[in-house]
Each structure stands twice: as C-alpha cells, then as structure tokens.
Symmetry: C2
Subunit: 342 residues, 2 copies
C-alpha cells in the first residue's frame, strides 16, 4: 500500500514520513502528493502569525484545546525560522505543546525548510494538503516572524490571526504594511499587561484609517456601531451599500491563562460563515491554488534551469566564479536559459 | 547618451531613474544593468539588519556621517517591507535621514518591491550594482525584519551588522537561528537602556555555544582572551590552529546620541581587513554572484514559464480556478512546463 493510501486512511506515521520528505525536498514526495491532491480541500486552515515573543505557540496550544473540546481532529504545522546554513529548527516552542502529546486527535509537525531551491511556503502548502487529505478537520499553521515568507504562508489559510502584544507600538508601525493586510482577526495576547487597551485603540484607529482610504464613507451611526463592536472584540461586518465586507475583529486573550479563547473561536467561526456566505471562500481557494501553483512552478523551473546550466555552461559554482570575475554576464546567461522555457 | 553612460559618470538623476525601473520590474532596466555590470565590484557593501524598533535607520544615518567625515561617498538603499497588495512603502524612517538631504555625497533610495515575480533580493542586488557602478565607495543596505528576504539581502553584503536592543531577550531566541548566522558584527544599540550588558552577555554566550558546537576546543587562555575582548567590544580573531576565523565583535552604540560609532567603524574596517587577508572576500564575491544569478535566473524562468502556460493552457487565473476545483493537477502541470527548461 502506498504512503498516500495509508495517509488517506489517517495513518499518522505515513503522514509524518511524507511531510519529512517534503521538508527534505525529496522528489519522491511528488507522486504521493499527486495521489492525495483530489482528496484535499475539506479542512479549515487557520494561520497564526505575528512578531517573535507574541505568544503564538501558547495561543495555538490553547486553540487546539478548544477545537478538541468540540470533538474536532486537529493538525498543527509549526514553521520555524531556521538557519540557511545549518538547516536546524528551533524546538523550544514545540515543548509547550506537549500537553497534547498523548492525544491522537492532535498531530503536530515542525517544518524547517528554507533556502532558494525549496521555498518555505511551497513546503507548508504541501504539508497542509497532507493533513487535509488524512482527514484533519482543522489545520493550524503557526509562523514566526513578519517577512514575505510569513505573508505567503498566511495566504494559504482561510482565516489568518495576527497576534500582537501590548507595548509593541513601534513594531506596529513597522509590521503594518505587510502583515496587517493579511489579518482576518487581530489577537491582542497577554492582554493582562499594561497597554492592552491602548493597543486595541491603535489597531482600531489603523483599521479605520485603512477604511477611510479605501472605501466610500459609511453613514455616521453605522460607523459608530462598528467602532464600538470592534473595541469590544465582537466580530463586525460593515453595514454599508455594496458588497459585504469583513471588518477584522480585535480579540483580547491571555493564552497562558486560557482567557479569551472561546471569544476567539467564535470570531473565527464568524469569519468562516462570512467566507461561505459571500463566496469569498471559493475566491480564497482560487487564490491559494494560484499561489501554491506558482511556488511549485518556480521550484520546478529553477531545478530544470539549473540542470540545463550545468550541462551547457558548467556547474553553478564555476559559473558564479566567472560572474564574480566579470568574465560572464549573468543577465545574458539568465535570458539564454529562460528562452528554452518560453 | 544612455542611462548607463550617465550613471558611470556619477549622475544621480539617471541612477534614480534606473533604480525606479528596477523597483518597478521594468524590463528596460536589463540592458542598462548589463552595461554597468563590468564596472561593478569596487564598493564596500554593508548590510544593516535586525528587528523592527532596534533603531537601524538612526544607526545607518550616523554611520553615513562617519564615512562622510572620512571623505567617502555613500549610497544607502533602504529596503522597506511593503504590502504585497498595495505596494506601498513606509516612508517614516526615511525622514530621519534628511540631515543628509543636501549632501551630494550621500545618495539615499528606498526600495519597495515585493511579491512573487520580482524578488526583493534581486532588486536590491541590482540597486547595489547601480550605486557601485556610479562610484559610491560605501553602499549601506538597511532592511527591516528578520525573514528569509532579509537573510538573502544580508548575503549581498561584505559585512553584515545585526542590530539588537536591550530587553529583547526573548526575541534573540527566535531570531538567532536565521539572522545571527549572517552576523559579522553585533550592534547593541540603545546601549544606555537597562539590560545592555545583559544583552552583551547573552550574545557572547550564544557565540561561545556556537563555537563549542562547531570547532575543536581552543586552549583555555586563548578562549579567555577572546571572551574578554568580545565583552569589551573589540574585534576578535580566534587564536587557534587551522584556518583563521572571524569572531563577530559586539559593539555597543547609542546611535541617537552618536555614541559608539567610531568603534563600530573600526570593527567594520577590521572585518574588511580580515576578508582581504584570508581570501574570504573573494569567496563572498563568488557567493554574492551565485545568489544574485540564482535570483535573476528564477525570475526569468518564471516569467518565461508563465508565458508558456498562458499560450498552452490558458491564463494563470483560469488554471488556478481549475486547480482549485481539483480538475487540474498542479504537480503534473508544473512538471510539463519545466520539462521545456531542462
């Protein structure tokens, strides 16, 4: 029986093996992924992202407990920033999740893949598919950091939670352009710390500003109701003419003390209902399919291009040496190699 | 006269124009870059990276002043995290550098490029080449964030400064695997805050740990001298059998009050001397050439692959739709398109 067949029956060891192959960029994974692909598309995929130190792992852990209490099977993919040189993954955060170690309904895997040839978001997308195909009802992808990789990964999710903590006001400035655009829900974690309300106000102001820039004005009362609801952590849908829009709610949690989690689960469910009601879910599926296909294509094209380079011009390192000496023209070489692909 | 000819004469407006073309992914930039390429390789390239809020822009600003005082012409490339959706760049940090606005010896450009088809590190590498070709003796690349993009960009530099601030101990844990591997010099900025010495000790401990894992033991006295020197912010080269190795110094600064800058410039110079003495500089040039060529190749191959997709299978969005409905197999499609490139 193939790995894929075992995985379709829910076998955890086979799924682990395939995800290790994906993480190791083992070409053998492709045949299994092809066999699994028609069986994917059923899981609810959640992204959890935000700055280091925001308590994402603890929040994920508590979120898992909530879904387990609902009787749902859960998969967690923890994407670790790893060295491009040593390839090592940070395991510290994972230890916090060992409370679920004996629960077969919780399946946790860390991903370490980095670097040019692989593509972290491609590996993450493939691992989501494995967990989806094996029947996990909720798949949570936790990423560390605020870079492009994390934005790409957030786009693999149906609902993306952006986790912030009080007192990181300066950081908001720095992260807002990228990460905040992908937020379906803000979580102000460690909300027992000073400055939690200020953080909620700052996020609210930021959302309003974005609103004002993007949209036609809504009437004053509707706007007031929306602002109030957001400040109280209730999910909000804009009351306005035109297509229904999602206003990211702001939920306060203290994950370490298990506070605010039911509200968060409710906000996620409200977002999911919004996605289904408006047809946005299908649009996100298309967008996921598009970005996953692009990652895959980029990876395969580069591998093929490098094979071609090696046959025609020599090994990559030798070519790089000639480029470094200004004896070869990288722009010309790239165009020559690409012309075959077109 | 072509843009490239103007740039080789040092013309700032032409350089600005070409860098805007690079940032906009304008294909017209390629011919100019090809013409400039043989004239590159002379500038000292510094990378400044670290978490948001570490004061990188202020530090860069003060570093520029140091090099200007040495009579060197300087280029600064500020890589802003920008939304993959709106494409907007954050301009706030740039304002801090306006002290140099009237100095023709300082040329500052912000880069915003993000997203799949472009590649931030490729655009950054091309802009470094423009500044190099136009005769800037020092080119400083400042990045915000700690993701893969920033690691890629750090690898474009001869010397990479990783800027940290006291009190971000938790973050160290999160960022060390990636960013710390690329550090040639640590800068503990805002060193007048509580916890600066603790931060120096933590970094020192981390470097020692890495050392212990990687290397044969050095004798006790040599080790002691190295630890002392690092704690005092002096550049250190390991005293050991075997090839000479660089031990990243830890320099304390208060950039906002212009403190510690001469020591930092000295540490950078020591690193550069090390690079030249050991042949490591040529090795880094090769590695830069390699990664820049890979970025370029990946970009060109993907463009060509997408052209081919559109001719043979339909527009990307239509193909994505078929994939989302599980009517098309993304793995098979990618392999078919890549086979032409091999």
């Amino acid at each position: 029986m193939s790995l894929a067949d075992q995985i379709l029956k829910g076998d955890i060891r086979s799924a682990s093996r395939l995800m290790r192959q994906i993480d190791d960029l083992d070409p053998a994974a492709t045949a299994e992924l092809r066999a699994l692909f028609p069986h994917t598309g059923k899981a609810l995929v959640l992204g959890v992202t935000g700055s280091p130190g925001a308590g994402k792992s603890t929040l994920t852990d508590r979120l898992v407990a909530q879904y387990r209490a609902q009787g749902k099977s859960v998969g967690v993919i923890a994407v670790d920033p790893s060295s491009p040189f040593t390839g090592g993954a940070i395991l510290g955060d994972r230890i916090r999740m060992q409370g679920h170690a004996t629960d077969p309904g919780v399946f946790i895997r860390s991903l370490a893949t980095r670097g040019h040839l692989g593509g972290l978001s491609r590996a993450t997308g493939d691992c989501i598919r494995v967990m989806d195909a094996m029947g996990r009802e909720v798949v949570i992808v936790e990423t560390v950091g605020v870079g492009q990789d994390e934005i790409d990964i957030a786009q693999l999710a149906h609902t993306t939670l952006v986790v912030v903590v009080p007192g990181m006001g300066d950081d908001i400035q720095a992260i807002k352009a990228g990460i905040l655009e992908v937020a379906d829900c803000f979580v102000v974690n460690k909300a027992d710390l000073d400055g939690a309300d200020r953080m909620v106000r700052e996020l609210t102001a930021m959302l309003e500003l974005r609103h004002a820039v993007r949209e036609k004005p809504m009437d004053h009362d509707a706007h007031h109701r929306m602002v109030r609801a957001k400040a109280e952590g209730r999910p909000v849908e804009a009351e306005r003419q035109g297509p229904e829009e999602w206003e990211p709610p702001i939920v306060k949690t203290v994950a370490a003390r298990d506070q605010g989690l039911p509200e968060l689960v409710k906000a996620i469910a409200a977002h999911h209902a919004f996605l289904e009601r408006t047809g946005e879910k299908a649009a996100r599926e298309r967008s996921r399919a598009r970005s996953q296909f692009l990652s895959l294509l980029r990876d395969r094209l580069l591998r093929a291009g490098l094979d071609r380079l090696e046959r025609q011009k020599g090994k990559l390192d030798e070519v790089a040496e000639r480029i470094a000496r200004r004896e070869a023209d990288p722009y010309l070489l790239a165009d020559e190699l690409a012309s075959a692909a077109s």
